[in-house]
Amino acid sequence: MDNLQLKKYANEVRKGIVTSTHAAKAGHPGGSLSAADVFTYLYFEEMNIDPKDPEKADRDRFVLSKGHTAPGLYAALANRGYFPVEDLTTLRKLGSYLQGHPNMHIPGVDMASGSLGQGISAAVGMALGAKLDGKDYRVYTLLGDGEIQEGQVWEAAMFAGFRKLDNLVVIVDNNGLQIDGPVDKVCSPYPIADKFKAFNFNVVEIDAHDFDQIRSAFKNARETKGMPTCIVLHSVKGKGVSFMENNADWHGKAPNDEEYAKAMEDLAKIDAELA
């Protein structure tokens, strides 16, 4: 798929994020928008998956370790055909299958998540399972840069590096902001790349919003043997919606009606540029 088409899908994913969190009057748009391009790339280009058969044996797996950015994952899954895009407006509502954080009842979700630091361990377990069985499926997991403050992340990283799980890709969305503010003011996780290198990872740092760089990073990961890969995404929290960009206030806040209209205008402009 060419970059233009990926950009169009990514913009649809962003609309889904804004629309679902607006409808829910809650949710986490900031970190969903920063990861919208990587969600799009994973589900539309990178992973061996089948929306018609979400539990297909030996499919590639994805674990959203930063589970609060479920609106981004759900928007990608819906646009990829796992369930109707219209259902995104049921996010977080009583009776909806689109829970506030991913669970096992959502088509396409490979692992429940939301309690930070835990998803990466499950992804490591899946990657180990593939190795034990001599299967060639790959496992991807997405973490927040605030999330890597959790000690369990480093327990998992140590294990993955030691076990040479080259079928595992750990993606860190380094948008620089967490709930209480900038990550390097709260409890700095930097340097991120050096830390993963020290845990025996192949590390690639890229612009999270450049599909050429995303493509080449995942290619690099596939070609790397004998060690897991960590892709550090230099991203913009709230990317695509002008007033949400680089603003920690939009970590876990939904747009009101007026803000929703403004956000959709911003995204319509991107559509116009891509047309």
Binding site: M111, A122, L132
Partner: protein
């Protein structure tokens, strides 16, 4: 009791894993640097490629077990109860319980009889923690035979299971031709009419000893072995309470949240009677030999005898 065969249930655990490995080819065993102590080392020696040492990182081990189960394996994750149920509680809750994965947790060194290591390692809270997780099966075997039966039952059951094993050698009490194990079924090991003693794990033996002494005093105690604390065999307890009108619970665990609480929950709803809960009375343990500790905290046969007699 010198002629009675004794074996620690952790030893039974390690042996059962090895014995069942061929029958359950998807079984893999995880440990956190305690394979010698948890006895998963017995499995490791026979099946080194199916034993995964995660290092001293129990939280990650639970997540890896979750991921392995999603790859079609049946993982048994092993550590001391303190770390499996205590440190990794939230991982067990969110990464195993909530997605209802087919992960088995083999927790050894549970309760007071950890002994000399002292209170930091004597987990008297694991039953309470594990039974609050929806869908979690919680078992606490009383001897070698029951411990092995629990491991097999856990492998045959689809869904998360927690099994509590002990460090100290305990008498074999279930070597009877009619012994049959089923998840969720209690067993009347001694029939009686004056008082019901409901016991779990190594306390079944103490309860039997107490019942024998009570009989000499003219008190006819019924002893029920509850291996599966969740789901609880409510019928066997309620029916016995209807007969005796008095219930005593015995556990090598805190009286808060464990077997005693589970039994009280059941009785309160269906047939309220007076209940005496024998166990750790909201205190931490201390260093000492297993037998000295059981004696000090009133959990040996004599201690149970005295407390039941007083209650009756």
């Amino acid at each position: 009791m010198a002629d009675v065969k004794k074996i620690a249930t952790r030893e039974s655990y390690g042996n059962a894993l090895k014995d069942l490995a061929e029958e359950f080819p998807n079984l893999v065993v995880l440990d956190a640097d305690l394979a010698g102590a948890t006895k998963t080392g017995i499995f490791k020696k026979a099946y080194p490629d199916r034993h995964i040492d995660c290092g001293i990182a129990e939280s990650n081990m639970m997540g890896i077990a979750a991921g392995l189960s999603l790859s079609g394996k049946i993982p048994f994750a092993s550590s001391f109860a303190m770390f499996a149920a205590g440190r990794a509680f939230e991982q067990v809750r969110n990464s195993i319980g909530y997605p209802h994965l087919n992960v088995k947790i083999g927790a050894t060194h549970a309760g007071l009889t950890v002994g000399e290591d002292g209170a930091s390692h004597q987990c008297n809270e694991d039953i309470a923690l594990m039974r609050t997780i929806p869908g979690m099966v919680v078992m606490c075997p009383s001897d070698d035979i029951e411990a092995k039966a629990c491991v097999r039952a856990a492998l045959e059951h689809v869904g998360p299971v927690y099994i509590r094993f002990g460090r100290a050698a305990v008498p074999v009490i279930n070597d009877k031709p009619d012994y049959k194990f089923e998840i969720g079924k209690g067993q009347i090991v001694r029939e009686g009419k004056d008082v019901t003693i409901v016991a779990t794990g190594i306390m079944v033996d103490s309860a039997i000893q107490a019942a024998e002494k009570l009989a000499a005093d003219g008190i006819d105690a019924e002893v029920i072995n509850i291996c599966t604390i969740k789901p609880l065999d409510k019928d066997i307890i309620v029916n016995s309470a209807k007969k005796t009108g008095k219930v005593v619970t015995c556990e090598e665990h805190s009286v808060i949240g464990g077997l005693g609480s589970a039994v009280c929950d059941a009785l309160a709803e269906e047939y309220p009677v007076k209940v005496k809960k024998i166990g750790m009375q909201d205190v931490f343990g201390e260093s000492g030999s297993a037998s000295d500790l059981l004696k000090k905290y009133g959990l040996d046969g004599e201690g149970v005898y005295k407390q039941v007699k007083e209650f009756v």
